[in-house]
Amino acid sequence: MNQRSSNLLDEALGLDQVIEPWPLRGRVVAIEDQVETSGSFVLHHLLKRSLSPNSSNVTIFIAFSQPFSHYDRILRKLGCNLVSQRDNSRFFFFDMLKLQCPDGDEGITPEGGLIALYGKIHKTISALPEISWKNVSIIIDDLSLMEVAANGSSDYVLDFLHYCRTLTSEFDCSLITLNHEDIYSSEDRPTFFIQMEYLADILIKAEPLATGLATDVHGQVPKCYSCFIVG
């Protein structure tokens, strides 16, 4: 009935079949990229899949990187209308471009700012009809900018992510994040990054081609780790 073109990425994540519940339910997906190759295309693809007409998914998009118009145009080309999804309460866009939590200023501490953000997410999910609770995706673009917004307090960002992780078990949400691997590979103790990788159930890395530039192929996604925790 619904001919959907899927690709290897869909197959690897189990998104090529039209099944309910959504295969990424209850999972944390971490997308990693570098300066040379942006991983945002994976994010856009997952966003499109989560808003597909077959699923009853609700997506909460926390944007630190680009304004709504940017994603709207891109998703429109992919065949998904974000404006109508937003009007139908299937897509919630939190514009965090201007969020800045300076230390102790006006009572907005980094911790406070992120707590408020978490509260907002929790409130949004709770306000949904109960049947939708099991089909929520939280997408964060991107984590390194969240650290900047928190003025470098990576601990608070980690706490925030742990709280979001509880949502994946409480509400069966999926959490999809984007971060830049090459920032942390040059650090002495990349605690934040390692913790994030540990938190993730599925890790997708976007890398440039070993052979350099090519017209048709912009990069490669060589690794897609999936850990199933049986317990």
Partner: protein
Amino acid sequence: MAAAKTRTSTFSRNLSTAPPSHGPGLKCGPNGTVFLSSGIPDLDKILGGGFPLGSLVMVMEDAEAPHHMLLLRNFMAQGLVLGQHLLYSSPARDPRGFLGTLPSPAASKDDKSRERDPDQEKGLRIAWQYKKYFGENQLDGQRDGKHEYSNEFDLRKPLERHFINGPRIDCVSIQDSDLSTLRDRCATFLSQFPRNDGSISCAGRIAIQSFCAPQCAYSNMEWDMLSFIRSLKSMVRSSNSVAIVTFPPSLLSPSFCKRWQHMADTLLSVKAIQDEDKELAQLLTGYQDMVGFLNVHKVARINTQVPVILEATTFSIKLQKRRYLVLECLNQAPVDGSSGTSYGTSGGCSSSSKTGNLDF
């Protein structure tokens, strides 16, 4: 069927008629973006039209040569010549002094000298002819409005006084001021060009030179500088302007350097050329004329996820007739003997007569 507010299909008719006409120095690009010129026509071509409005351009400096100043000068002069507003910031005590070094647009009769010297190409004529036709297809659309969008600049001729003394320029010294002052000045400047859906009457340019230079009081506050760049980027995104920030990457820790690189929409770097590098001289043609290298690491992708496909990422910076800044692809020199890589000799006409040993 009652007219419902929600659309039933995912497609909506594009109700806009003709694309809105914009002021001088602006041209429409793909995906609803509007470009302004970098001041270097070759760079505009490489980047697919110019710098899109709302983007942040970052240039990584080379401590050994001030080539980033060439980019800044052309960028600033282009804006002033076309009536765009400019905010310039540098670590110098009096940034206004730098304005005296801005170049003037080249006189139009000199444009013909831009074409490559025909005598050199006689032996290569067939291959070069094709390239000429491909180039012309792109230029045709631009030709009419060419002087309204971008100019060739003569680096030996200073910009006329009346451009520099106008009310459209603001200068800020970042040596003593702190980041919140600079942020406020940028915010005030950018508030003149809010982004809305109509036609754009006026655009702005921000040029910040050597942002993390050690003379600046804040230069050791890494997170504060990063959050300044982030807020600058978000302010620029919601306005009709382009900001260029140059910085010396060696003064930042590697992890922060990467963070800054990720912030940029368009990321360039300049490199000095060592004098008398004999190996490089043998490897590249035209080495003697090169002043430096320009690397394009990232090209802005606003409203799209499709990257701009570059022919190459490294270009040589040359000063033609010691006046005009040109960027050229690197051409590998013909290789002597049969052990050379195939690239140098696959150009057909460019093989030298000494390659008789080649067996293909």
